[in-house]
């Protein structure tokens, strides 16, 4: 798992639930859950852009890299 998604931290900072974020970025809760649990194979720029907009952050705040 080289790339990690740090949604939890940002959601906590913004006092927002995953359901609320799913509604705001217009993607399903199931897909957002896949992203949150690092099970996604890829992320669209449009999704990343919506997440950054709603969580008021930069892509680097959401994504991390863990060397194997």
């Amino acid at each position: 798992m080289a790339i990690t998604v740090k949604l939890d931290d940002r959601l906590h900072d913004k006092r927002m639930t995953l359901t609320e974020l799913a509604e705001r970025v217009d993607i399903t809760l199931a897909n957002l859950s896949i992203l949150k649990t690092n099970k996604a194979k890829a992320i669209r720029f449009s999704t990343l852009q919506a997440l950054c907009r709603e969580l008021d952050c930069q892509p680097g705040d959401l994504l991390g890299y863990l060397p194997d």
């Binding site: 993607i27 992203l35 099970k39 194979k41 890829a42 992320i43 669209r44």
Partner: protein, 178 residues
């Protein structure tokens, strides 16, 4: 990920009906040929032997007739299997999910069925030539025309199988995209 497909697509509906009818026809003819084979191997054996002797056939005449019937039955059985795979592929297109590894395997099998059919046809032509009623020039011409078509069809099916396999891999990747 399922693609939106019109379930009342006239092409798919027509293909389903035609392929279904052909499957039924191939089963029927295959069964009739098998019944014929059973008959000439048992109750009509003496009659066939008599006709072959009257026609001046050698000792290989009767086994050749049995072999021809068996090969024709095999031909229809393989044709049925080919159509069954095609019928299932049409079904997957109607469901809006054709890019499956299963369909790639089906296309590959259809390619091998085409090769097998052609080999049987060559064997039948060889037997026909041994009877002497089928001119060698005609056999060569038939083999050239039918053989070329079969080789092209088999190649297309094998290549399509690869295309579907790549398509299935791409779909898997797309499914993991959020």
């Amino acid at each position: 990920m399922k693609l939106p497909v019109n379930s009342r697509d006239p092409l798919l509906s027509a293909a389903r009906i035609i392929v279904g009818l052909l499957m039924g026809l191939f089963i029927l003819v295959g069964v009739l040929v098998m019944i014929g084979l059973g008959a000439i191997a048992t109750v009509q054996k003496n009659e066939v032997l008599g006709k072959l002797a009257a026609a001046g056939s050698g000792p290989m005449g009767y086994p050749s007739v049995l072999l021809v019937f068996a090969l024709i039955a095999a031909l229809f059985a393989i044709a049925f299997l080919f159509m069954r795979e095609l019928f299932r592929i049409i079904g997957s297109v109607e469901e809006g999910d054709p890019f499956r590894r299963l369909n790639a395997d089906r296309l590959r099998r259809m390619g091998w069925f085409t090769v097998a059919e052609q080999l049987i046809l060559f064997a039948l032509a060889g037997i026909a030539a041994s009877f002497g009623g089928y001119r060698p020039a005609l056999i060569a011409e038939d083999a050239m025309v039918a053989g070329t078509g079969a080789v092209i069809l088999a190649l297309i099916l094998f290549i399509l199988a690869r295309v579907f396999r790549v398509g299935a891999e791409m779909r898997d990747e797309l499914e993991g995209t959020v």
